[in-house]
Amino acid sequence: MLSLFSTYSPISGGLYLGWTLGANDAANIFGTAVAARIITFKKACIISSIFIILGAMIQGYKGIQTVSNITDQTISTAFIITVAAALTVTIMTFLSLPVSTSQAMVGAVLGIGLSIGTVNFQPLLKVVICWLFTPVASMFVAMIVYKILGFILDHWPMSILTRDKILWSGLLLTGIYGSYALGANNVTVSTGVFSGLLPGVSDFFLALIGGIAIASGVITFSKRVIIEVGSKIMPLNAFTAFIAVFSMSTTVHLFAFVGAPVSTSQAIIGAIAGISLIRGINPTSNRELKRIAIGWTLTPITALIFASAAYAIFI
């Protein structure tokens, strides 16, 4: 019994990381809809949880393979990686800096890889390129969808209530799609590094428990972040909220096909920038831009330092 515990207990780090991811990232999917009282928090939680787990089980294993290929892992290094990433996310959240859990995890993986001198740069390069393209791709998707859907809504004779109904259904469907994409793309962040390290545990099972960890973060701790993101960071109406979440979901899902874990936060910021550009308004202040840049840069570096330091101290 004790040996079973010592074999499988390191995965607790991954589950904790998955939990923080769920608590933080559900806001990007349902933040506006919940804050605007279009969908109740309870409904958002149920939908999110179901589709995150489905996304993780159906498509999540691809990303698991990419991350586990960056460097060779042992059960101890996998535990360090997940704890270092989770600690980074906690500190960044405490400092109110925008944080990407996937960047924290890849930063920690790289930290371990550099410490043991076995970094496979090919999958790493793929991940970094995908990071750079995430906000840009999301921005372009948002601009195109905004133009097309905006034209249809402005020219199709309908009642204001029918318009509401379309947007309500749209927000619900994009919420489902966004949750699925989050599970498919980000489950690797939670349990990906444990791939092949736990006896009798397949990538599919890792995806399943990773998905459950993310879903539990959504259910237990996402309410505050959802309300804050929905009412402060994204003062969008139903139409622009739909565009933002749809663009984010499409982009994140696209990168799930590529097998690279990307940030839903970066995707949604890209989408908002695209909407703002089309509407000819400044998406954010210079101070906020600086904060975003600092957050995006510091997250992988901090995780890298934590993981390297922990490796030097404990291994």
Binding site: A36, R37, I38, Y146, L149, G150, F151, L153, D154, H155, P157, M158, S159, I160, L161, T162, R163, D164, K165, L167, W168, N237, A238, F239
Partner: protein
């Protein structure tokens, strides 16, 4: 669920609009009959019709409000529709208030003003019809409401011109000083129905603007 609520709101709004036009039509009929044949008893009877139509409109308004407060629809649309019916409600209220003024203060309308008042009432009727057309379009083709609101601008300014001309005629005449004041108030009341319709038009414009991409 949403479809049923939408249908119910649209039906109630349609009913509310019908009650408003009924109230305004009864008001116009009452004033027209009074100026062609000043009969206090008939005016009293007609004022009851206006009052009844206004009460029914109030009942329908309350039904809509109750439905809105029972968490139907998007919060944004809920607020917009509540604001809209609150503004629309002032139209039948003003019609009832005007007929009461005419009845309770025993206003005498000189024959020389008959044609002018009839003309003003025609404009009021047109204005209210267009206002209702604009609000109706919110529930069928909301972008098209803006064209109706544009027509309201024009009619309201025509009503202002007529009102000014009638008041000028009143004060240039040899009517008793006190009667002049009462007549002026009555004319202003009638004309203000177009101002209130314009307020509804402004609401409609705002509702559409918020939803334009």
């Amino acid at each position: 669920m949403f479809i049923t609520k939408q249908k119910k709101v649209e039906q109630l709004m349609d009913n509310y609009q019908q009650q408003i036009i009924r109230c305004v039509d009864d008001f116009i009929k009452a004033v027209n009959e009074f100026i062609s044949e000043p009969d206090s008893d008939r005016l009293r009877k007609n004022s009851l019709d206006v009052h009844h139509a206004e009460s029914v409109a109030d009942d329908v308004r309350r039904d809509i409000e109750e439905m809105m407060y029972s968490r139907s629809l998007f919060p944004e649309s809920r607020g917009d529709i509540l604001g809209l019916i609150e503004t629309m409600d002032k139209v039948p209220n003003k019609a009832e208030e005007s007929i009461r003024l005419l009845l309770n203060q025993h206003i005498k309308i000189p024959k020389m003003l008959n044609a002018d008042i009839s003309q003003l009432l025609e404009v009021v009727e047109r204005c209210v019809n267009i206002m209702l057309e604009a609000t109706d379009k919110l529930f069928a083709n909301f972008i098209g409401s803006i064209a109706e609101v544009g027509k309201l601008d024009e009619i309201e300014s025509h009503a202002d011109t007529l009102e000014a001309a009638i008041i000028d005629k009143i004060f240039s005449s040899d009517i008793d000083g006190f009667d002049k004041i009462l007549l002026r108030d009555f004319i202003q009341d009638i004309a203000s129905i177009t101002d209130l319709s314009m307020d509804v038009g402004d609401r409609v414009r705002l509702i559409v603007s918020k939803r334009r991409v």
